[in-house]
């Protein structure tokens, strides 16, 4: 594989992390001559806030690092240094738990839900899209797929709300929310695993249903383009079976831009899943972020956002590194 390609992608990843963290540092500070965070923290301290314990110390620590008396570049360096060490201070609302601890507890839930539903949606959607672009596919497939295609543009959480109403509230088939039965202790038993899966079905389904349409739609477009290529025509003239042409010639090539699309959509997908978590009170990063926003848990917001940027950057990097394995033209690029 071309080492230049890898170096380039890793550099891009570092650039993304750097620009992202810098943006969230500088943008709020563009507000003229005030430090809204310090103000808000001050208010909390004055009124007694949610959790007075340790608040004074945190306000003090914040002032020392980011106070108005400090020059901006010094604040920035402090901030970047903390980010590099994953040091996001304490959670204001849940003192003395640190932000890092809380985020780490939430990460497995988010990653599990997100990974399974995204991969399912991508795989099913790509296959359906490929079939929709294939002239031999029976007409009935088009009719079946149309509602899914229509739902491709609907935000996940909107679909989640509807599903929650129908399947959890109305028919009571599935739990209304949460990650597992309230109060259960995580153990490696079938009962617990089933409980987790049971709770994940609705949030995952709302992401898969909307995702399938999205991937099917773009795959259909790619497929139509690919079927117009000379090598597909020649494959038929060589006497290959339709099945072989479909998988090895058409779909195999159409999946390439689709993979790029997946990398480009990583941010949108993660954002969507965070909102689904909010709707379903799923114990992942989305819910943590939501609680942090409503309770103005300032350090928490920064911690979660940093992880979100990191995760999307890493996912994109991973897909960029997988891509050459799928496309020999990148792998064996001649100098």
């Amino acid at each position: 594989m071309s080492s230049r390609y890898i170096v380039r992608r890793v550099l891009l990843f570092l650039l993304v992390i750097w620009v992202g963290t810098s943006l969230i540092f500088f943008l709020p500070r563009l507000a003229p001559d005030r430090d809204p965070v310090a103000q808000r923290l001050g208010n909390l301290a004055a009124t007694g806030g949610i959790n007075t314990e340790g608040l004074d110390e945190m306000v003090e620590a914040y002032r020392a690092k980011f106070g108005l008396d400090q020059p901006l570049w010094k604040q920035y360096l402090n901030y970047m240094f903390d980010m590099l060490r994953f040091d996001f201070n304490y959670s204001i609302a849940m003192y003395p738990a640190t932000v890092f601890e809380i985020v780490m507890r939430a990460v497995p839930w988010t990653v599990g839900l997100l990974l399974v539903s995204t991969l399912l949606a991508f795989a099913i959607g790509s296959l359906v899209g490929a079939l929709l672009g294939w002239p031999r596919t029976p007409r009935v497939m088009h009719w079946v797929a149309t509602p899914f295609l229509m739902m491709s543009s609907v935000p996940y959480y909107i679909l989640g709300l509807v599903m929650m109403y129908v399947f959890a509230f109305k028919f009571k088939w599935l739990p209304l929310g949460g990650g597992s039965q309230y109060g259960t202790v995580p153990t490696l038993t079938w009962q617990y695993v089933w409980d987790v899966v049971h709770h994940a079905i609705l949030p995952a389904a709302s992401m898969v249903v909307a995702g399938v349409g999205f991937w099917a739609l773009s795959m259909r477009g790619m497929m139509v383009t690919t079927l117009g290529e000379d090598y597909v025509m020649l494959a038929e003239a060589r006497g290959l079976s339709p099945r072989r042409i479909f998988f090895r010639y058409a779909m195999r090539n159409a999946i390439l831009p689709q993979t790029t699309g997946l990398a480009l959509s990583a941010g949108t997908i993660l954002s969507g899943s965070l909102l689904v978590e909010v709707i379903f009170r799923y114990p992942g990063m989305g819910s943590v972020l939501y609680r942090a926003i409503t309770g103005f848990d300032y350090f928490m917001i920064y911690g979660v956002v940093f992880f979100v940027i990191l995760a999307v950057g890493a996912a994109t990097l991973l897909l960029d590194l997988i891509y050459p394995l799928l496309d020999p033209r990148i792998r064996y690029s001649r100098k």
Partner: protein, 282 residues
């Protein structure tokens, strides 16, 4: 002209989308004549009322009447989406043209910036900004914040289109006919991009709506305005779903589905216009 009409007639999706959109416009135009929009404010009606002849969509827990709420909210929401989408399109188109047409260092810079900005999840950045200025967040501010992160996709699309068009011989012929760079961009390249620009606008509006409603659903929207996303936030906040108040949460959802369905129909229709190969697939 008759040629374009012929296209549109063979393109029912586009027609459906535009019709849905016109219906929405009518709702916004005629609505305020029939509905008292002041009742979209809290404590203007009795709280928690089911739909009735008097209040067709009932009221919520803080005493907003929900039909005016829907009217005002959907209009605000669309205003945010359209403003942000338009700004994103204009900025993105200008950047895309500069990058694609002039190339060189400026292209490397713009392309890398767009790639980086595209990888940073918009929601993350928006959450940080919005949470800090939550109190002063109004419809216009929200639109501007969302717009700041809506230029990348248009910039990418337009850049690649310009890049491929710039290689066409008609650009060289235009130069030999005495045109300068700006005349070539405006008179030769831009007209060919019209279907793309339209499709990109629809995409940018949809993207901006998605981001804005998402932010609002987290509570980071105009606190005093009943936009669709904020209504969903309040539903969630007051547990409307679990309390069986379907008249509260269903209308904004239906409205959002409707808007996205209309945008979807228009964009697939435009896609077919811009990419005739897709027509064969049906």
């Amino acid at each position: 002209m008759s040629r374009s009409w012929g296209y549109v007639r063979r393109n029912p999706l586009l027609l459906v989308g535009v019709a849905m959109f016109i219906l929405l416009l009518l709702f916004w135009l005629i609505g305020p004549q029939v509905i008292d929009v002041t009742r979209a404010r809290p404590i203007s009606a009795m709280a928690d009322q089911r739909p009735s002849a008097e209040m067709p969509l009932g009221s919520d827990s803080v005493g907003r009447e929900l039909l005016p709420n829907l009217l005002v909210g959907s209009l605000y929401t669309f205003e945010i989406g359209l403003t942000a989408g338009l700004i994103g399109l204009v900025v993105g188109t200008i950047l895309g043209f500069i990058a694609g047409y002039f190339g060189g260092v400026i292209d490397s810079f713009i392309s890398t910036a767009a790639d980086v900005a595209l990888t940073i999840p918009a929601l993350a950045v928006l959450v940080v900004i919005a949470s800090v200025i939550k109190e002063v967040l109004n419809v216009r501010n929200l639109a501007l914040i969302v717009a700041a992160l809506s230029w990348m996709r248009p910039a990418r699309t337009i850049r690649s289109q310009v890049l491929s068009m710039r290689e066409r011989s008609y650009v060289e012929i235009a130069r030999l006919s005495g045109m300068n760079d700006w005349q070539i961009i405006v008179q030769e390249l831009l007209p060919n991009l019209l279907p793309y620009l339209a499709a990109t606008l629809v995409g940018a509006v949809a993207g901006a709506l998605l981001a804005a409603i998402g932010l609002e659903a987290m509570g980071l929207g105009p606190q005093t305005e009943p936009t669709l996303g904020m209504t969903i936030f309040w539903c969630n906040y007051y547990g409307a779903l679990l309390r069986g108040m379907w008249w509260w949460w269903a209308p904004p959802i239906v409205a959002i589905l409707y808007v996205f369905a209309a945008l979807f129909a228009i964009s697939s229709g435009l896609d077919e216009l811009a990419n005739p190969r897709l027509r064969r697939a049906r």
